[in-house]
């Protein structure tokens, strides 16, 4: 593994240099945003893809990029970082590449073999600004000092075995969900439904931050109707359903008809299902509402017990919360913070802050060289 200096490494220590790179990164991202997004978005409708791309780029300002590097010892910044990109959320590698390029690293994007377009476009935009970023579908990660991997645990294990000298950070499969109190007031309920619909629509519910379920108190049926209306009003058609998901789609709809309720649109579904039937898998534009109720327990205990049961074996990424300030909502919020590495407001599930702890791991610290005494 190479740990040698390269031209510009010493620049990383100066705020000005970071600023210069941040400006070039930002310019590259603006260039990326200006080009047609169709062809980059893994089958998403172009309008939806453009909305998702805007959401992904919005937090990547010059100021936020520079701030992300504040206080970082330049000697700990690696010469090179590889990013193994998973198929699914087409914008996922942008913030990581932007961060590491701003830090002064040479960046190699290992693109998914069947969806390399965004990685290619991103690398082209960044390298056009003089930043050392390239994309490849090759599995050859030789010479990279640190590697960040998105994908299955098996992928991570295989890479760890192939490149034992690299500092490897593996982000395995995770899921997200929402926990909400349904407001009594129709206007507030519609607002909540609109925010939930945004979380569902973004990326057609792909990725680890897509809501696999919405655990809800209150008038869940009324919330379902509002959600149904919000999703029906989406201006963007859904990407064609993967044939392998069709059977599971029909199974859930049938289950909801037998045990709960179902509202179906041509390209979406809103289901009410008992929480015992929560499945940690999001289907494209399907919302599974799980009532937070258990008549055998007091209300607060019921909610807590439902949540802890649902997530007892699930690796959580994020929980979106919209809870009332009362004692039950407070207890649920506390429980949510215990369960998930990230909690956020409903509507921002798929647009996380930058920089952040991703699955509890600092985006930059995970690639840094060990510091003195570590």
């Amino acid at each position: 593994m190479s740990g040698g200096s390269r031209e510009g490494r010493s620049e990383g220590s100066s705020k000005g240099s970071s600023l210069g790179r941040a400006e070039r990164v930002h310019a590259a991202l603006q260039q990326l945003q200006a080009r047609p997004v169709s062809g980059l978005a893994q089958g998403l409708d172009p309008g939806l893809a453009a909305w998702c791309l805007r959401g992904a780029l919005e937090p990547l300002t010059v100021a936020s990029l520079v701030a992300a590097l504040r206080g970082v010892d330049p000697d700990r910044v690696p010469e090179s970082v590889g990013i193994v990109v998973a198929r699914g959320v087409f914008t996922a590698p942008i913030e990581w590449a932007a961060l590491y390029a701003t830090a002064g690293c040479r960046v190699v994007l290992k693109a998914p073999h069947d969806a390399p377009e965004l990685c290619d476009a991103l690398a082209a935009a960044l390298s056009a600004q003089g930043l050392p970023v390239r994309a490849s579908t090759s599995h050859d990660l030789a010479g990279l000092e640190a590697v960040v991997v998105f994908g299955s645990d098996e992928t991570g294990a295989a890479l760890r075995s192939a490149w034992p000298a690299a500092r490897l950070t593996v982000f395995g499969h995770r899921v997200s969900a929402a926990v909400v109190d349904t407001p009594d007031a129709p206007e507030a309920r519609r607002d909540l439904a609109r925010c939930l619909a945004q979380d569902v629509l973004r990326y057609d519910t792909r990725g680890c931050m897509a809501p696999t379920g919405v655990f809800a108190r209150g008038d869940v049926a009324a919330l379902a109707v509002d959600l149904h209306q919000q999703l029906a009003a989406s201006p963007w058609p859904r990407a064609p359903l993967d044939p392998a998901l069709g059977a599971e789609w029909r199974r859930r709809v049938a289950l909801a008809r037998a045990l709960g309720r179902a509202w179906l649109g041509p390209q979406h579904a809103v289901l009410i299902l008992p929480a015992a039937h929560y499945l940690p898998l999001a289907l494209p534009r399907m919302v599974c509402l799980h009532p937070l109720a258990d008549s055998k327990l007091p209300e607060s205990e019921a909610g807590l017990s439902v949540l802890s049961r649902a997530f007892s074996t699930v690796p959580l990424s994020s929980l979106a919360l919209s809870l009332s300030p009362g004692p039950v909502g407070t207890a649920l919020r506390a429980q949510a913070y215990r369960l998930a590495p990230r909690c956020c407001v409903v509507g921002s599930l798929q647009t996380p802050a930058f920089p952040r702890l991703h699955d509890g791991v600092d985006m930059l610290a995970c690639v840094l060289r060990p510091g003195p005494g570590t």
Partner: protein, 359 residues
């Protein structure tokens, strides 16, 4: 309709039982598609109406379905729902027979409950004899003979006293099975899964060094299960060749069935298409949309099984295949799992998590 509609049940018994339950009658029905299909269609629609009146969960699933004009329009129940729902056309507490799936993926096992196995036994025996001819009266099995195994139940209904060398906990007793096969004095029925036969052959020794095992004339090897995708299909071809080489003179036939169905399809020569009985409608649907596909196009297999009297007649499986104009089925294996969707879980992984939660 009453909880047990005697006239409908009588009609089903007559249709499935055939005229005198003999091979000729069964074969005639099999080769007279027009008459059989018309009778089948009428019975399917009547059974659908009866089940909706008596099976509240199926009725709820069908609540928004348009009135069906033919058996192909009947709303199907995804096979996975047998894990989650009772799906009985009688009060579930009264169930007298429960067949369970192996539950390898999702942990919780699917359950197919009924009040009796009259239609099951009648149809299974009739169609097997129609496709295979007279069955041997003795058997050496590589199948589980547990009370909740539909496969074991079927095999025992063919050959009462079937001796098995398979135990779900211990696996295959290959030595015992080989000894029994070599000592067989009369034609034997040898049912087993592809996996079990593969194990058996592996313990036989190097084929070129051992003479083949000639079973008594009229012996039948029945292979079931094991279609899990293209790679395994290739090994199925190898297994078929190996079985024929190892047991010259014996027939190697294929059976396709599942816990959630009461009827089976047979390939009288394993590797050839599977033939359904006249009381089992087969269609292929688009896996993504569930819409009917024309004959000859590969899709997800759906069945309308009149012998599923006590549960639901219309089932959507997770197996992919091609249905010919005559209804014969060429299996392509299981529906491939959805690819990993970025950093989220796959269907299989999600089900495994649920299984762990329920354990």
């Amino acid at each position: 309709m009453s909880p047990q509609d005697p006239s409908l049940r009588r009609r089903l018994l007559a249709f499935i039982g055939g005229d005198g339950d003999d091979v000729e009658a069964a074969s005639a029905t099999l080769t007279d598609p027009a008459a059989a299909r018309a009778a089948f269609n009428a019975l399917a629609l009547d059974l659908y109406a009866w089940q909706r009146a008596n099976n509240p969960q199926y009725d709820a699933i069908c609540a928004d379905a348009p009135v069906p004009g033919s058996w192909r329009d009947l709303p199907t129940v995804p096979v996975g729902l047998f894990r989650d729902l009772d799906l009985t056309s009688f009060p579930v507490a009264q169930a007298r027979v429960t067949f369970r799936t192996s539950g390898t993926t999702a942990g919780r096992r699917g359950q197919h409950r009924s009040l009796d196995t009259v239609l099951y036994d009648l149809g299974a025996g009739r169609h097997a004899r129609a496709c295979l001819g007279p069955l041997p009266t003795t058997g050496i099995g590589l199948v589980p003979l547990l009370p909740d195994s539909s496969l074991g139940h079927m095999c025992q209904s063919f050959v009462p006293g079937l001796q098995t060398f398979f135990d779900p906990d211990q696996g295959v007793d290959c030595d015992g099975c080989w000894a029994a096969l070599r000592q067989a004095q009369q034609a034997v029925f040898v049912p087993g899964t592809a996996f079990a036969f593969d194990l058996l052959l592996a313990t036989r020794g190097v084929p070129t060094e051992l003479p083949p095992t000639e079973l008594p004339r009229g012996s039948i090897l029945m292979v079931t299960g094991g279609s899990k995708g293209r790679a395994v299909q290739l090994s199925e071809q190898a297994l078929a060749a190996s079985l024929r080489r190892s047991f010259p003179g014996s027939r190697v036939v294929g059976e396709y069935g599942m816990t959630e169905l009461s009827s089976q399809l047979w390939a009288s020569d394993w590797g050839q298409p599977y033939v359904p009985p006249p009381w089992l409608g087969v269609k292929a649907v688009d896996p993504a949309t569930g819409r009917l596909l024309p004959p000859g196009e590969a899709g997800l297999l759906s069945f309308v099984d009149l012998a599923n009297y006590w549960s639901v007649l219309a089932i959507e499986t997770q197996d992919v295949g091609v249905v010919s104009q005559t209804g014969a089925v060429t299996l392509h294996g299981r529906l491939p799992g959805a690819p990993a969707r970025g950093c989220s879980l796959t269907v299989e992984e999600a089900l495994a998590r649920v299984a762990a939660r329920r354990a």
